[in-house]
Symmetry: none
Subunit: 409 residues, 2 copies
């Protein structure tokens, strides 16, 4: 069963709105185990809408269209489909009555154009719309299934959920289930190489890597007759992948790196404090974005100037003079200082050159030192990050959070 | 000139991600006055990718593809295009050298598969990628223009803006020019109401409001024969709008609120320090994301606990006991304290309840106090924000930055 989604609306082609309907429907179809091969967006133009339906029915079994069911002249979805199938339309009396009574109920005269919404293609069934005047349309023709849904998400979502989803589920044999593994410290190409044997031999479940800013996400998707069976298949694949990638996998699905760090801190009953220079509060902000962070995040200080590093963290003036603010020695004293002044289990520091200015041959833009004070010791890390200011700050915040994560594990 | 956008990636068909690239490109093409007739999404499958290119070149003059340029086996965009055009690929030596030196610079071994990114279709030019390893591709073939762009938005946006946009603009007959006015403190519907007369009578330039998180952006677009003429038309419309919205307009185009605040501080030779509670470093992070912020941003302290508020900012224990951490009195002392301890011209403080927990009937989630100490005084503001933790933190950071902006003006 191959499906495709056709979204109709010039506002999508002008970039005025995001095609959230396509994402929503795609997710639901994946859940149902229905293969989706294409999404198309076309404007409010009769010949292009009918061309799009023609192409879609050539290559797919199910065509789900969104938008263009309203009362105005640029609502052309039903017209386009009828054109493509070479069939006519007729009025659906109950729908007409419902629209008329709706206008009566709100005490407004019904503009003539509203009648348009009560016309349906020959042989079609309507799908009740409890949140608007335009009904959805279900039509079987030429051995294909056509489902026309209204564009507004508050009409489309309940209509799909209540009527279309159960209908398609009754006809589906398999379901698809996915899990996303979240990976740090290695790039997409390394993941690909390390998992080469699995990639080469994958059939079901399938795996696919996605490069995210500073991270890699690996999707595992199983096709099975039941959800339980899909879980078993995914678990088996996950443990194969974990055997290879180990601790580089930090979380699953929607879990962010900062949420994982906060959870670990809470579980181990540890507290943390932060001294940030180049990241300017980014790491504090990420950690405190997690609900409940206040239980383990004590405080963070953004010490941009040398004076602030001395005053708040007790960094030695001699250290700054001899080694500079961006140095292993300064990171060391910052980590120790913030931990001491805050009385936390862990003190994390970061100092670097985020650019675009401030780099030298010896200390280029992208150079970054991270310090971490815990138990009886302080460790420092020297790192180089590529890209612009935003990327350097973001990737160094990932590295710093990952260092904390690995130490707590 | 008819254009279409082809997005390549199974993750789009699975509904894992939104097709934000298509929206972005659609908006830009509209700005350029290039007609966009179709957007298509296709998965990582060679024959379907090449079918899609074949169909696209049949009906359009320009085909812009996104995604599938990376190093892994499921990156098939160039292969699909070559297949559709029946041409080969060859290695682009400079690109290969650049990729190799990138891996050297970050001290990581280059996985063999990365070489794939240096292969380009016969007759194609590369488009430099300053934010990743995969270059973009520009190819004229069969009287059509093909533009292949990387999928990650942080690579696609600058590549399009710096290289593709100017290229397409040079080939356009008439031009559309836009300016975006950035507005705080009033919502979209208020903007719509206040500008009702302008909205009702717009022809050229046109104006359109966009609701952004916590802000409203108002696009003014003029269609003209020359850039100078467009500028004159836009300036005229802008001053009409400014007469009505006044200081609620904080900036233009890409200028962020934080960048405007940093620029104002620099121009007036003022310094600032921050004491954040509920925003957890978000405001510091926003200000320091602006290149050159170190000249006026001295330091920021994230004082999550009462102890930290006393220790670092000198907030009175009695104040915290009597009024609580989330109170006008505490915001007052935090602002005064951070300014004093940092020796800056301005001290900004924020304390509130971001949720989801911690709210009471008297002090609900979303309650927030902002304090600002400057010249001889301290002002405090009591505010209520709706939404979830993320939204409360974000919108309160906007309000705090806006308070600083209005005081410096």
């Amino acid at each position: 069963m191959r499906c495709e989604i056709v979204a109709i609306g010039t506002e999508l082609l002008l970039g005025n709105i995001l095609n959230t309907n396509a994402k929503y429907l795609s997710e639901k179809l994946a859940e149902l185990g229905i293969d989706l091969y294409y999404q198309t967006v076309v404007g409010d133009n009769l010949s292009r809408v009918s061309d799009t339906f023609r192409k879609a029915m050539e290559r797919s079994d199910i065509v789900i269209a969104t938008g263009g069911l309203g009362p105005t002249d640029d609502d052309l979805t039903k017209e386009g489909l009828c054109h493509a199938l070479n069939i006519g339309m007729s009025v659906h009396e109950q729908t007409l009555a419902k629209i008329e009574s709706f206008f009566k109920s709100i005490n407004r005269p019904m503009a003539e154009c509203n009648k348009k919404q009560a016309y349906i293609p020959e042989g079609a069934q309507i799908i009740e719309n409890n949140n608007g005047t335009a009904p959805g349309i279900l039509l079987k023709a030429k051995a294909k299934l056509f489902v026309l849904l209204p564009g507004p998400p508050n009409e489309l979502y309940p209509m799909f959920e209540n009527s279309v989803y159960p209908y398609l589920k009754g006809n589906a044999k398999y379901l698809l289930k996915s899990r996303m593994l979240r990976i740090v410290s290695v790039g997409e190409s390394t993941v690909q190489e390390q998992l080469k044997d699995i990639f080469d031999n994958q059939t079901n479940p399938t795996i696919a890597p996605y490069a995210k800013s500073g991270e890699v996400h690996l999707r595992i998707t199983a096709k099975a007759e039941s959800e339980d069976l899909a879980d078993v298949m995914i678990n088996e694949m996950e443990s194969k992948v974990r055997n290879i990638l180990g601790d580089n996998i930090y979380g699953c699905d929607q879990e962010s790196l900062e949420a994982v760090v906060i959870k670990l801190l809470q579980n181990k009953n540890k507290t943390i404090s932060l001294a940030e220079s180049c990241t300017g509060g980014l790491i504090s902000q990420r950690l405190t974005s997690v609900p409940g962070a206040s239980k383990c995040f004590m405080n963070g200080i953004v010490t941009y100037s040398n004076e602030a590093k001395q005053k708040f963290l007790g960094v030695n003036e001699a250290t700054l003079r001899k080694h500079g603010a961006v140095s292993s020695e300064t990171a060391y004293e910052m980590a120790e200082g913030i931990r001491k002044v805050s009385g936390t289990d862990i003190g994390l520091s970061i100092t670097g050159i985020a650019g675009p200015d401030g780099g030298t041959a010896e200390k280029p833009v992208g150079l970054c030192y991270i310090g971490i004070s815990y138990d009886e010791k302080v460790e420092t890390y020297k790192l180089m990050f590529g890209g612009n200011r935003e990327k350097i700050r973001w990737n160094s915040s990932i590295k710093a959070l990952d260092i904390v994560r690995r130490i707590i594990i």
